[in-house]
């Protein structure tokens, strides 16, 4: 628990290093420490009801020059694909997306892997760069990669997805 949370805190710290001004999220128990951590840092948040809605809101904010990120779960990319392809990618709007992975070891949901597992390949087919942060990566790597990905998304004027591993808070004991 402590180790996993130190990595999620590193993700928050990496976004703070970047200078994040606002983030849009879709509720997730796995990503909750990131969401609450950013809010504790005083970063303004918008809660979206669906992932494509989050892409629209974040894209609009990015067009105003704000440093904005999305925090969500990887099983929501099925909802977000058309918005990512026809809006963020096509209009060259750069912002980072941080998505916790589901469906792996420790998963308790029987079907979520059916969309979570293929999500990286689906995104890559759209030409969207996908980075990964795992529990075997150091805290320092989590922090520096987070900042680097956010900077790169803005420079490339494209959304970039970081898939980050985190065990469900209720399943940490199996780790």
């Amino acid at each position: 628990m402590k180790e996993a949370n130190s990595r999620l805190q590193a993700l928050v710290d990496g976004l703070s290093d970047w200078g994040i001004e606002q983030f849009v999220y879709v509720p997730s128990s796995h990503a909750a420490p990131v969401i609450r951590g950013l809010e504790a840092h005083g970063v303004k948040s918008v809660m979206a009801n669906r992932e494509e809605e989050a892409v629209g809101i974040a894209g609009g904010l990015a067009l105003t020059g704000k440093k904005v990120a999305i925090v969500m779960q990887d099983n929501g990319f099925g909802n977000a694909l058309t918005a990512l392809a026809t809006f963020a990618q096509s209009y060259h709007i750069g912002f980072p997306i941080f998505a916790n992975t589901r469906g792996g070891l420790g998963e308790y949901n029987a079907m979520i892997h059916s969309i979570s597992d293929p999500s990286p390949d689906l995104l890559k087919r759209l030409g969207i760069r996908v980075e990964n942060l795992g529990i075997s990566d150091s805290v320092e790597v989590w922090r520096s990669s987070t900042e680097s990905v956010a900077k790169l998304a803005v420079i490339q004027r494209r959304p970039i997805v970081t898939m980050f591993e985190s065990l469900h808070p209720g399943m940490e004991s199996i780790k």
């Binding site: 849009v24 809660m47 009801n49 892409v55 629209g56 974040a58 067009l63």
Partner: protein, 184 residues
Amino acid sequence: MKRIDALKVLDEVFGNDPLVITCGATAREMASISRKKTHLPLLDSMGLTTPVGLGVALGHGGRVGVIDGDGSLLMGFSILPTLKAYAPKNLIVVVLDNGQHASADGMFSQANVVDIAGAAKGLGLWVAECDSADAMKAHIEARSSADQVSLIFVKIETGNTPNIPFYLADPAKLGADFKEALAG
């Protein structure tokens, strides 16, 4: 009122303020009468117009307009509670309601059988309804100093203006121009 006549008024009343415009015939008709760097037509992102407008309004200090359609709003209806939750007072959403998906062979929209303006009211949003250019313009001007987000539902005629060419703009340029206009 025909859609293109409503668009002429909207172009005039929003002036050089940011204006996010829904896809299909609406974007094409607007481009046929006015093209500005402050216009952001979404060429193929149905259902995303109002979410994008919300993002722009949250990041931009001045008035922001959205031109949505009943079909497009229904496709992303979950934005309405989000609008209420964040309620930026600088955002005015105009929904041109023709009761159909005019760009999809004129298939009927469920706005024919449900009261989408009433649904928005039920969520606690500020809502006006009208069917004339003068009333639409008056609502927009009155709400430009409002204390919360505004939704103006405008009944328009069915169908599209004939002989409007496809709008083949480069979306990357539209995005870059819009961003530059907001920064300026």
